[in-house]
């Protein structure tokens, strides 16, 4: 059974206008968060949510290829790491400008995604999953043994990225809004992308690659471009993560992280874009919540995963839909 047939991402969740409304409402609510945090006297909330937004960006980018292209990439966290290391390494050498950091992160990720994607996309199914995982680990081990930049221990940043020489981002609220703005921007771009000519080729290939060739497309190059776009978006998330944590570590790109990104996309509802965002909230908040009860919270997450696979194909949005009889 093909992945595409098993999960029917498009049209399986909430309808498109509803989805945009949910997204809009969520973004407005998030924009109000710093005020809420001040009101309830918990400024740390802004820091926590910046981190969640960063992973929401990464999950959104993964959904682009996983949900719309059925490309089960198990190495997506590598791009977060590449983005983060661009900040760390450049800052170490005195280049602190955010624009340069972003450009470097996007450029480097584009190269990495083009090379590894060109190899992985020649294969299908379990091969593709294993190869993306292996290349992700390659990047991970590279930085683990890169002693000049902290190796296994990672590296601390002396300061956040600067914007045209100003240290605007020192203020956590500003960083929060920047992250939110990028997430909203990426959501809008990704929504346009999946409905465009390009997006149709990507989801058409997910549905039936042979059929696409029989109408004159060569899917490989489109899939590769989508793979590169998703990688670059995740690298931007990495730049933001480095700024949020003021720390860069190979742990950002471990295969557990890649797995968690997949989990976010699935739990939130695959092939919906906003699902990745919701999934990031669900997973990270679930982690925080479970961690209150036990140091072995990962076991709880693991059990949730297996239960979701067994009982709720379609993830949380599928569950919501089944409970409330959705609008199929």
């Amino acid at each position: 059974m093909s992945d595409a047939a098993a999960r029917r991402p498009r049209r399986s969740g909430l309808g498109l206008p509803t989805r945009h409304m949910v997204a809009g409402a969520l973004f407005v609510l998030l924009a109000a968060l710093p005020f809420i945090a001040t009101a309830i006297g918990d400024p740390f909330l802004v820091v926590v949510f910046t981190r969640i937004l960063v992973f929401a960006i990464a999950a959104l980018s993964l959904d682009l290829i996983l949900g719309y292209g059925a490309l089960v990439s198990f190495g997506h966290a590598a791009y977060i790491g590449l983005g983060a290391y661009c900040v760390g390494i450049l800052s170490r050498h005195g280049v602190t400008d955010l624009g340069v950091h972003l450009a470097a992160a996007i450029g480097l990720s584009a190269i990495f995604a083009t090379v590894t994607g060109a190899i992985a996309l020649r294969t299908r199914g379990v091969y593709f999953i294993m190869i993306t995982l292996a290349f992700g680990q390659m990047a991970y081990f590279f930085f683990v043994s890169f002693a000049a930049y902290g190796g296994d221990d990672g590296m601390s940043l002396a300061q956040r990225s600067t914007v045209f020489g100003s240290d605007l981002l020192r203020d956590s609220t500003t960083l929060f809004y920047l992250t939110l703005a990028i997430l909203v921007g990426f959501y809008v771009v990704a929504s346009a992308l999946v409905g465009s000519r390009f997006g149709r080729v990507i989801s058409g290939t997910r549905e039936n690659a042979l059929r696409m060739q029989a109408i004159g497309f060569r899917p490989f190059r489109y899939q590769l471009v989508a793979f590169v776009i998703a990688g670059c978006m995740a690298a931007v998330a990495g730049v933001l993560l480095a700024n949020q944590a003021m720390f860069v570590s190979p742990a950002y790109m471990s295969w557990h992280r890649s797995g968690e990104l997949i989990v976010m996309v699935i739990l939130g509802g695959i092939g919906t874009l906003i699902g990745g965002v919701v999934g990031a909230f669900v997973v990270l908040l679930l982690e925080e919540w479970l961690a209150v009860f036990t140091t072995h919270w990962r076991m709880g997450l693991g059990i949730v995963l297996i239960l979701v696979v067994f009982f709720s194909p379609g993830g949380v949005s599928g569950l919501v839909q089944r409970l409330f009889g959705g609008n199929r």
Binding site: S2, I266, R298
Partner: protein, 306 residues
């Protein structure tokens, strides 16, 4: 220099043998069931922990090994019966998700039972010490025993796969799944057998490596990734491919780490060479994988195009 080469070559082969034991079962699971199992590495880890436990309980390595294997086999059957059985017909994505969840559960379970301090298993007296090889080189007997055991298992697998009815079914199944059910074989039983057997092989690798490594809850993950590389290089479903690729990966990885910096010293100054070498060496096997894939997308011995 030559001595070092021989020592490292042996270390590489030993790593390769372990990788082969883990990969053999996994490549069959991939090939026959078209099933992606992220959780195979935890079986290796569980094997090591079981071994550590039973060595303490029985006080005897040779008694502990079969008991640990029996326990691992039971554990494999349990997992097959409760979880994997429900996943065979599902999409790869579901399989990834559920087995990823299983990795978290088992890893945390191991930490809950055994704690997060690494355990160690003593080398049995019979196999302790070193023996001289080629004159002045000393090599630990236990490591030679690992190599020997692995070769025996590989030979046994070869005989089973090529000269028994079950083996014939496995080979047929790895290259053409519908055919196996057409032959009137109980596919459910075959799957359960392959899975439990693969689990036991992985656990066996974990058990015999326990005396030379520290037993910790992260050991499954690192071996899993290497195993994937082995399977991709060797070709899914091919035991022969898994063997060749495992030895190749073991040797390349080990030699790269020890000789990479030395070779680089010829073209750059020593401190830079040592750092660059240490950074690049871990990437060698992935580059090897990329090269193999570029030339043969189905792997060295993979019949079916990916």
């Amino acid at each position: 220099m030559t001595n070092l080469l021989i020592l490292q070559l042996l270390n590489g082969v030993q790593l390769g043998i372990l990788l082969f034991l883990v990969a053999a079962g996994l490549t069959l699971i991939f090939g026959i069931m078209d099933f992606i199992n992220i959780a195979h590495g935890v079986l290796y880890m569980v094997g090591a922990y079981l071994m550590a436990t039973f060595v303490v309980i029985t006080g005897n390595f040779w008694l502990a090994l079969p008991v640990a294997m029996a326990a691992a086999l039971l554990f494999g059957l349990l997992l097959e019966y409760t979880i994997f059985r429900r996943l065979y017909e599902r999409s790869h994505l579901d399989q990834v998700l559920a087995t990823f969840g299983l990795v978290m559960i088992v890893t945390e379970g191991v930490r809950m039972i055994w704690g997060s301090t690494p355990l160690s298993v003593p080398i049995p007296a019979l196999l302790s010490g070193s023996i001289p090889l080629l004159g002045i080189i000393q090599y630990p007997v236990y490591r030679l025993a690992i190599i020997g055991t692995g070769l025996v298992v590989a030979l046994g697998l070869y005989l089973v796969i090529n000269h028994t009815r079950t083996g014939m079914l496995l080979r047929a199944g790895a290259s053409n799944r519908p055919m196996v059910s057409a032959l009137g074989v109980n596919v459910g039983q075959l799957f359960a057998f392959v899975f439990a057997f693969g689990a036991m092989l992985a656990a066996f690798a974990g058990a015999i490596v326990a005396p030379v490594l520290s037993v910790d809850s992260g050991m499954g993950a690192s071996v899993l990734i290497l195993t994937f590389v082995v399977i991709v290089i060797g070709g899914i479903g091919s035991i022969k491919g898994a063997f060749v690729a495992a030895i190749l990966v073991g040797v390349v990885d080990t030699l790269g780490r020890s000789f990479g910096p030395i070779l680089l010293q010829m073209v750059m100054d020593p401190s830079a060479a040592s750092q660059t070498g240490r950074t690049l060496a871990p990437m060698l096997i992935y580059i090897l994988m990329a090269v193999v894939l570029a030339v043969r997308p189905a792997g060295l011995f993979g019949g079916r195009p990916a």
